[in-house]
């Protein structure tokens, strides 16, 4: 396998934009291509990450539509649907294409336009990924996070405030990210006084409904060296799945697929959790960020909440997590998220993050499909 580098990235502003999905994807895609300085280059593949263009916007064939907007014919193009892990899955596909030697230049673009629907309708569309037996009971993805939160707090004595601190941190980080949906600092009291969504979790524990797109250009390390001074290589990547029904899983206070995907990525990169200096994690709900601290090996089982409470993962902490603002405050346009995570780590490693810049030469992304149904972990390093 040959090394695969990120040659450029592009993001749209996240939020309620009024723009259509194809327009968002084209904006992010064009920015990534220009960022790489490859305006006239011929692309081999285009992988488009998206969950529900049909349900949200009545559109299918989004990969071909994007190819048309960017005049990238006759590149191979396909949509990759893996629910909230679509972005990570598309990065995985792009990585395989280049690593295998088959492709030299790949565009990975992810996007979702969700504001066409009410929050309830969006919850219904997203809940279509759950096991039918669970779906008819009325579950929502946020309700599953609440089940994890209650079990975790009970088992490990985690205080409610520790979860709130994740939201406070990520909102603060988002104020320094021009692409983020929210630019509003919040306090622990704001979180604890916000409306209950799924007891014990409240409005500010959850990511919002968001429109947006993100894109990266992947190529060989050799070609990336000609394009930039500090090439960033995907040195490790792992993808693992777990049982479709959450009832078949042993417990809800951990995600075995995060552990397995991370193990593959660490092994490929020849790294350990202690080597990671910045991370973008899948904080669909505050509790999930804490569970990932543990399943990724950053902190011991049952102690992730302490890291949140003590500010260890803040911008000025020992391991800054979700410098972008995360899903929580940057926003979670479903198909875009896994790609946007790679954009943030790429920009951090290149020193392009302005006020939210941290010192790092190695970063990690963790993108979760469904409720831990599938997980993609990537490790990126400056070469």
């Amino acid at each position: 396998m040959r090394p695969v580098a990120v040659a450029g990235c592009g993001l749209t502003k996240f939020g309620k934009t009024g723009k259509g999905l194809i327009e968002l994807l084209a904006e992010a895609g064009l920015k990534a291509i220009e960022d790489a300085g490859l305006d006239d280059a011929e692309f081999d593949d285009v992988f488009v990450a998206n969950m529900s263009s049909g349900e949200f916007e009545g559109v299918s064939g989004v990969a071909n539509a994007l190819i048309g907007e960017l005049s990238l014919e006759p590149a191979a193009a396909m949509k990759i649907e893996n629910t909230s892990g679509s972005g990570g899955a598309a990065v995985y596909a792009g990585w395989m294409a280049v690593a295998s030697g088959e492709s030299e230049l790949v565009l990975v673009a992810g996007g979702e336009r969700m504001s066409t629907k009410s929050t309830g309708e969006a919850a219904e569309i997203i809940a279509s990924l759950t096991h039918p037996e669970e779906r008819i009971q009325g579950v929502t993805l946020p309700s599953l996070a609440a089940l994890s939160a209650r079990q975790y707090m009970e088992l490990y004595g985690a205080p409610r405030e520790a979860l709130a601190e994740v939201a406070v941190k990520n909102h603060y980080n988002a104020t320094l990210n021009p692409y983020a949906q929210f630019h509003k600092r919040i306090t622990v009291e704001d979180v604890l006084n916000s409306p209950v969504i799924c007891d014990p979790l409240r409005l500010y524990d959850y990511c919002p409904v968001t429109d947006g797109a993100a894109a990266v250009v992947l190529t060989t390390l050799e070609r990336a060296r000609k394009l930039m001074d500090r090439p960033v290589v995907i040195t490790g990547i792992g993808f693992a799945t777990d049982y479709y029904s959450i009832q078949t899983r042993e417990r809800l206070d951990e995600f075995p697929a995060v552990r397995r995907a991370a193990m593959k990525a660490y092994r490929m990169a020849g790294r350990t959790p202690g080597d990671i200096q910045v991370a973008e994690l899948h904080d669909m709900a505050t509790i999930l960020e804490i569970l990932q601290y543990e399943d990724l090996g950053f902190y011991p089982k049952g102690e992730g909440w302490k890291a949140a409470l003590e500010g260890r993962t803040a911008l000025d902490g020992e391991l800054p997590v979700n410098t972008s603002g995360g899903l929580k405050a940057k926003g979670h346009p479903i198909g875009a998220t896994g790609v946007a995570q790679v954009c943030e780590i790429f920009m951090q490693l290149q020193g392009r993050c302005g006020e939210r810049q941290v010192e790092a030469e190695r970063g990690l992304t963790c993108n979760i499909a469904g409720y831990g149904n599938g997980v993609i972990v990537s490790i990126l390093e400056v070469m």
């Binding site: 009325g138 029904s245 009832q247």
Partner: protein, 104 residues
């Protein structure tokens, strides 16, 4: 009746039903009834999906062999660790027979 499935090849017990045993991919499965479990988590959903009245209480119960059921609770004041039993209770929004959890 709440059913679990025992794999005749490796003895693993699981639910809900799937084509093959999640441990050994054995395909000969026998049904067994689940009677009494313990509540391991629950939530009151205020932001419900269309067609579900808030607050909707759902819980996760663990039965013998670690088998679990995620279901609506017909329990006023749920507590972690309380004993629960599955009961046939009305129909789902799609009109199918529906299992809820009650206090044991």
């Amino acid at each position: 009746m709440l059913r679990a499935y025992r794999c005749r090849r490796c003895g693993h017990v699981f639910r809900p039903r799937r084509l093959q045993c999640p441990k050994c991919r054995g395909m000969e499965l026998e049904e067994m009834a689940l009677r009494r479990g313990k509540l391991v988590s629950y939530t009151l959903i205020y932001a419900t999906r269309p067609g579900y009245e808030p607050p909707l209480t759902i819980g996760l119960a663990e039965f013998e062999n670690g088998v679990k059921l995620l279901a609506q609770l017909d329990i006023e004041d749920p507590e972690l660790g309380m004993e629960v039993v599955p009961v046939n209770s009305g129909t789902s929004n799609e009109g199918e027979p529906f299992i809820r959890l009650k206090r044991a």
